[in-house]
């Protein structure tokens, strides 16, 4: 790639950083230069976030239907699956699965709720009172 063709399409890193791009200068020599971004990258990154959003919506539907606890929504928001969440809260997977159901969620003790809230980047209050907006 030639240095004058290095794309500068602002997008996902706007205002935070620019990425190093290797390109050939006018003398045919490789130099490190900066790129503000590139449209194809913006597209695929957006797509990845769209999938996360889809998971959050899916969780909301299940919570509204009384089939899942609020943890499901925050788990999706934090891009976690049961295995990863279990690792972070240091609780066995089968127990986490129970806590993802409304019945298991109700039985959680204050310190367990605290633990979940901390890992999921929220507060106990928010976790207890979470209602999907539909």
């Amino acid at each position: 790639m030639e240095i004058d063709k290095v794309p500068q399409d602002e997008g996902i890193t706007a205002g935070i950083t620019r990425e190093v791009q290797y390109a050939v200068d006018e003398n045919g020599k490789y130099v490190k230069t900066f790129s503000k971004g590139w449209e194809p990258k913006n597209i695929v990154n957006e797509l990845a976030w769209k999938d996360i959003e889809d998971n959050m919506n899916l969780a909301n539907e299940r919570i509204s239907a009384g089939k899942a606890s609020p943890i499901m929504y925050f788990m999706a928001k934090c891009q976690m699956n049961v295995a990863l969440l279990a690792e972070y809260v240091e609780i066995p997977k089968w127990k986490v699965k129970r806590h993802l159901k409304p019945r298991g969620f109700k039985k959680l003790k204050p310190d367990q709720l605290e633990n979940y809230a901390k890992v999921l980047g929220t507060s106990v209050d928010e976790l207890l009172n979470y209602k999907p907006k539909n």
Binding site: Q21, Y22, Y30, K32, P40, Y88
Partner: protein, 334 residues
Amino acid sequence: MKLDFEHIPAGHCENGVISSLLKYHGLNLSEAMIFGIGSGYFFAYMPFVKVNGIPLASFRPVPGMIFARAAKRLGIKMKKQSFRKQPKRAMDELDKVLEKKLPVGVQAGVFHLSYFPPAYRFHFNAHNLTVYGKEGDTYFISDPVMEYPTTLTYEELKKVRFAKGPLSPNGKMYYPIEIPKEIDLKSAIHKGIKQTADWMLTIPVPLFGVKGIRYLSKRLRKWPEKLGPKKAAAYLAQMVRMLEEIGTGGAGFRFIYAAFLQEVAEIMQDQRYFELSKDMTKIGDKWRTFSSLAAKTCKGRSSDPDGYNTVANLMLEIADDEEKFFIELKKLIS
């Protein structure tokens, strides 16, 4: 205390950290040189390894390998430490080394990395950064993929060093303890090139090297039919991300390799490496075209097989180019 450490932005974190650590100790080797000597160029398609449910297509060997190979070939001794489930000890140990006026490389998870662009904060745990000082609660951080140096608090640094999930860092840290006075650069370069060529051309499993590119091309054609439009788009998008997202220097490390070959041309006083570097640039440009076309196909989430066939055909062309390239390159070192 803040060490006199130069922040050098780089294409790729692993090579960037090593390159700047060595520079601090007086050894001037570019990121591209480390990448080439450590045989960082690769292709692997591993349908049995899934990232977010998507089979892994990688343009580099597993994390840590480039660095281990480069250190070995240059005769550099590194001290490496991990601390399973001992975050406090991991932080104490880091402080101790910093007090000896040594900058330290640290493995980190990206999800909790507060200074990172939010759009890039996924659960990826094989990121690398350098810690080069501490004042009170604040650590001075040189993250090669960031344009400028940055900082993290004690709690933040502890959190990213103990991120969980696949490839979890377990507090891993490393720094050079022995750098030889005389380095046989030519021999290290030869070894690096030889292994790259061998891995690209001769691994007898169809998932690796140029064979891997051809195999994936075949699979990719069937994605829209087999997976449906949504999942097919997600698969293809993941490939573009492996090629272009933070840490490849563009085109899945192909441009870094071209830069490496230019440096080799000068060290070996051999113009043929310079000519091959031009070929590698063309290969990189083709991968860029791949990304551009693939992103368009993803955007529409169209199940039209034409978009998939176009990029699959381009991959076959690239596989042929890379095969020819490494056969030529191998001739120069034998």
